[in-house]
Symmetry: C2
Subunit: 343 residues, 2 copies
């Protein structure tokens, strides 16, 4: 795995096109696109899961007693914490956010700048199969996983104590996955996270004085142009965004303007689309490490414009002092080239 | 190297204190502090430089012809592009930002959301010694490096075409360094980068209705409390910030309220301080990969409050979907514990 900003390349600069700046149409932030610099990012072989045989795996069927009691599961009724599930949800053993029921130990820390990390940390075990992510198992398993995402968000919303539900998937050790068995995570956050805050502002300010939704406009432009489209289905469009922050950044966006993922009625189709896209990553980029997350509207209220979507960020380059210290992303593969590779 | 957000830990949760939220006093963003979770981040051995013998190194003395002609150097007069230098500055062979002189190839791309990446990409070779960073060579070398940082920022300012000068140091392959030979980088950016923009706003809004500088206030609180202080010298204080984003995040702050690094008159003392702090990282944390950067005021104007400082971010954990997708940092070592370790 190599960095995008280092001076260590060996091919002569004459071969490289001049870098350009591209402004993200939602956040208004500039990204440096320095494509074709004689160095392609490369996956460090298959996504390098944490090496863990399934007999040691706490998420495998038959090992249910090794995890905290399950929150819920897609399974036959009445067989809690036993095999027979398709997707299983458990509390994170080391929660980053703790539920109200566990508040006692955290009450000490309350001040304006310091407070208990109240919220939810759940692990969604995506599939019973130890070493095959749902998109390898098939669309039916991806669908079961997506339906569980929806159900857990709806449960958080019903409980009423959480501000934002953030669903993530870390794939591969280099993308911060710490267990091989395929799993997603749900964080119920007690605030609107910064990235969503910036996006919500972006939806208001992206088109000053114009009505409509910036992401609906983007879908229209992306389809008209075609160069950044990876896949287009009846209800979804998959593309590399104009100001992609990293090589092969990919968004899955519903055509229907809608605030919230959990209201999506086309999850079977989304499962087909995700299965195709994630297998394309696997085949064309040698199973790279990646993260994806669902960007959806905060759990309560609906007064602001938004349009939910899924963002997939392969981890083929490392962030350095320019990204972390200045917040400036450097992308060494143009989104047009990335989409052509993944189509 | 392990992640902070994964569910893969094996010690029981009862041992871990409850996580808390801490709000950064400048940016007002919340960080999740989930310390003592039975898993300490660990350096993956010494900072794992790119393996490169010095005979292949383009930055070693005697190999000056392998780089573009030097921009400037701390050396005897009249011996350009030959050995005899203490610090040497060269253009990045694969610049992320290109100077006006190279504009021809980029003019094609001008639109409101797409423009040539005009600016500066320089490599500052910190020392002639291939495998010893300046803080190992000694304070005299660190001072020469810092003086070169200052001189290059002043040169950019004088040239008048750049908005922001961003100086970074990536140490170790996991921190995105691509060559073993110690080097820093200067990016002359044509915009105020997002991170600085957020800080500049923070200096205005952190203390609504109160006069004074939020970072001056922080220095006072940090010294009074003492628990997060790593080192205090006549003109500088080094500490782990209250809402540290990652384990062992460290700031070096001048006591004197000042907008700009390049106006600092105490660089010899700063060199002593940096040498001590970076050797403490090396000794106490087994030479971890890290990034540091100088946060200073934009090159032109002085109408807004600010207080320059250096931020050091060790790379002991990996960012996942919570950090990248939500902008929420997770720190598994409390800054109080981190400072006690580094003192």
């Amino acid at each position: 795995m190599t960095a995008g900003t280092g001076p260590g390349e060996t091919t002569p600069p004459a071969e490289a096109p001049q870098p350009e700046l591209r402004r993200d149409p939602i956040t208004a932030e500039w990204v440096i696109l320095a494509a074709g610099r004689g160095k392609r990012p490369h996956a460090p072989g298959p996504a390098q899961p944490v090496d863990q045989p399934d007999e040691d795996c706490p998420f495998c069927p038959g090992h249910e007693e090794r995890t905290p009691p399950e929150v819920c599961a897609n399974r036959e009724e009445g067989s809690c914490d036993r095999p027979g599930w398709k997707v299983r949800v458990i509390p994170n053993r080391f929660p980053l956010l703790v539920s109200g029921a566990n508040r006692a130990g955290v009450e000490r820390a309350v001040s304006p700048d310091r407070r208990p990390a109240l919220g939810t940390s759940e692990v969604i075990v995506d599939t019973p199969v130890h070493n095959q992510p749902p998109w390898v198992v098939g669309p039916h398993q991806t669908r079961a996983m997506l339906e569980m995402y929806r159900d857990r968000i709806l449960a958080l919303k019903k409980a009423g104590r959480t501000t934002y539900a953030h669903i993530i998937r870390n794939h591969g050790a280099a993308a911060a996955s710490s267990l091989e068995h395929p799993h997603s995570q749900l964080f119920g956050l007690p605030f609107i996270p910064p990235t969503i805050d910036v996006e919500l502002d972006g939806f208001v300010f992206a088109h000053p004085g114009k009505p409509g939704c910036v992401l609906c406009d983007i879908i229209e432009e992306v389809e008209k142009d075609g160069a950044r489209v990876i896949l287009a289905s009846e209800n979804f469009i998959v593309f590399c965004p104009f100001a992609s922050r990293l090589p092969f950044e990919t968004w899955i966006v519903p055509r229907k303007h809608s605030l919230r993922f959990e209201k999506c009625e086309e999850l079977p189709e989304l499962a087909e689309v995700m299965t195709t896209v994630l297998n394309s990553f696997r085949e064309k980029l040698n199973d790279p490490p990646f993260n994806y997350w669902v960007h959806t509207y905060p759990l309560h209220g609906e007064s602001r414009p938004y349009h939910w979507h899924i963002e997939i960020l392969p981890r083929l380059t490392l962030a350095g002092g320019l990204e972390l210290g200045a917040g400036v992303w450097v992308n060494t593969v143009s989104p047009e080239e990335a989409a052509a590779t993944l189509r």
